[in-house]
Assembly symmetry: C2
Homo-oligomer: 420 residues x 2
Amino acid sequence: MEAIEAARMVEALSGDARAAASALAGASTRVKDAALRAAAARLRRDEARVLAANQSDVERARAAGESAAFVDRLTLTPRRIDQMARGLEEIAGLPDPIGETIAAWRRPNGLEIAQVRVPIGVVLSIYESRPNVTADSAGLCLKTANAVLLKGGSEAQATSAAIGDAIRAELVQAGLPRAAVQLVEGGRDVTRGLLRRDDRIDVVIARGGETLKHMILEESRIPVVKHFEGICHLYVDAAADLAMAERICLNAKVQRPSVCNAIENLLVQEDAAPRFLPQIVGALRGAGCEVRGCPASRRLVPDLVAASDADWDTEYLDLILSICIVPSLDAALGFIAQHGTSLAEAIVTEDYAAARRFLAEVDAAAVFVNASTRFTDGYEFGFGAEVGISTNRLHARGPMGLRELTTYKYQVQGAGQIRE
Amino acid sequence: MEAIEAARMVEALSGDARAAASALAGASTRVKDAALRAAAARLRRDEARVLAANQSDVERARAAGESAAFVDRLTLTPRRIDQMARGLEEIAGLPDPIGETIAAWRRPNGLEIAQVRVPIGVVLSIYESRPNVTADSAGLCLKTANAVLLKGGSEAQATSAAIGDAIRAELVQAGLPRAAVQLVEGGRDVTRGLLRRDDRIDVVIARGGETLKHMILEESRIPVVKHFEGICHLYVDAAADLAMAERICLNAKVQRPSVCNAIENLLVQEDAAPRFLPQIVGALRGAGCEVRGCPASRRLVPDLVAASDADWDTEYLDLILSICIVPSLDAALGFIAQHGTSLAEAIVTEDYAAARRFLAEVDAAAVFVNASTRFTDGYEFGFGAEVGISTNRLHARGPMGLRELTTYKYQVQGAGQIRE
């Protein structure tokens, strides 16, 4: 019986989304932006209702013994609700990418070819714990005229439903299909069923933990844009400005350790290590960070915790940093190729050749010279908003804003041309 | 034992490809282009050897009772070998997309962000029957510094091996890794094994029949860029220039019926039908094409074969065309939405509003006004070469040239910026 019910839900959700996508494709920028602004206003008006729903999720999480960091990510405040609302208003204020001409040219035979941005179609967004993703994803998909199926974590179910209700009510007011934004309820059977519907769903955007990741990659017949783990490095070169290196290291590790673009491993060139290590270890510890180290670094700072082999491949998402001393830029590049996850990598150096090599040779979505990896972010890149940070190589890499939620078609105008 | 052997081959092929991709990434445009030109020269020198290998494939195909069209696609001639060689030379002459700056901007905090084209990494190309795909794919991947695993159909195995040998010999001469281009031998077990190696292979490019398609979609953990069926339509509007419509219809159906961008269904607006149908049916039949029709079209041309429901969803890849009379542009748009495969669709009209609506509302990789769908092609679009025509919506849609074999990374240069 449950399987039949799940199949029925999959059929209805995906069918309604497909129909909504067709209706949305023709919506004007004006109508979409008005709906986004109205949804923002409604979120603010519904503050008490959203907070009450969130309170029930938070209590459930606490009762289940979830960590403080988990509960913090889940918890809404009036300020966080206002941020969500402002996020929707900012999306409304951004240029509409749909209809944009990416390129246009004329062929020798007179054919005029234009490559024009269009919506992807139906997006299935699967994510965990942060309720703001519900509002951000709905807003970004609405602006790009994609119908979206939102499958948040069960831990935030009441919160997501309250946010979704507020947004959906305004869609209908604006004359847009209610099914442009749908929340997926039901368990893994429903999610699994949706992941098979490549006839109706065009892309899966996946943000979440390892278990979720493996399930999605195993089950999906739909292309998946992953937002998975980030093991990011900061390499302090022999020619680094060590005061700058300290500032960047602290920012990249401590400012928000629970995110994918925070660093997990610090590499220090061996000639810089005797001066830099005592200084950075003290600063990190002062910020509450546990520091682990390789044997060479423990000779310089004897009370460091010994780093195990597993440390170099662990995304802590916490106030822990592992330090490895390396003999050269080449060794740093090799270490990053071996242990990095191709998300964000940074070097601090005043050496022109070292900076150039690092930019050219490191294979990652974002490569930084003399700046914090924490800038790997749609807002910080100037995209205005982001649906996440893709760890894919195809379609979209790194921060995903509005453009990354579009595809294109070629419009070709002729005067009767035929192919020879 | 066979399973162990297959596993060993998968491990070696994917490992060698990954290592080759790293080595290729730093290759200069000059070295890549010299290798392409040398490979072209070698193909011409090896003509006799390649033709002999092809002869054995062709004899095997004939003995197996394959169709004349199949044998034709498989058969090489000195002219076709020269075309392959010229294809490689043309690729050498194209601008190198690797390293191209797609966009660059400065943030208010002074960060300088550049979005730069880089290779995808390792490409697995799976295809059937046309031996030229071996040379084209190898050439396009080499130019874009991607390592490629070529899995051609078993029917062309000897031919592909001979072409591959010629190209690989010149890679080594040029100082490039031999494993930049590898031919995958072995059966389905090896292909299946490769499709699981998302740790080493970045994209699968799939061109082939239904069986192959389903196997790949079921088995692959790697993102797949599909090049699958095209059910393309030509809609002859009430306001069409009927002489132009006839010319375009004949070209789109007859010039090369075995390809995905040929049309299968002809839609005719009912007011134009009494004049157009007798004329076009005569012309199609004169070109050797069987014509089927809906009941309304059979009232106008009584000796038409009756089209069944299945006809509208069949990619004939042959000299067969089905005609349906529709009352309006709206009906044509609905028909295309229902039966089209979003590859290429065309309208013939002198009506401005009809042309605009068709361009805007048809959801296909390429939408044509007053031109043949047969122009859906990398060469015809001016890309210089193509690896195929993507029926995906993500990453690449429609003709895939060099740029579609690249991804990008963000290079960010700062002066010590940290995130607030």
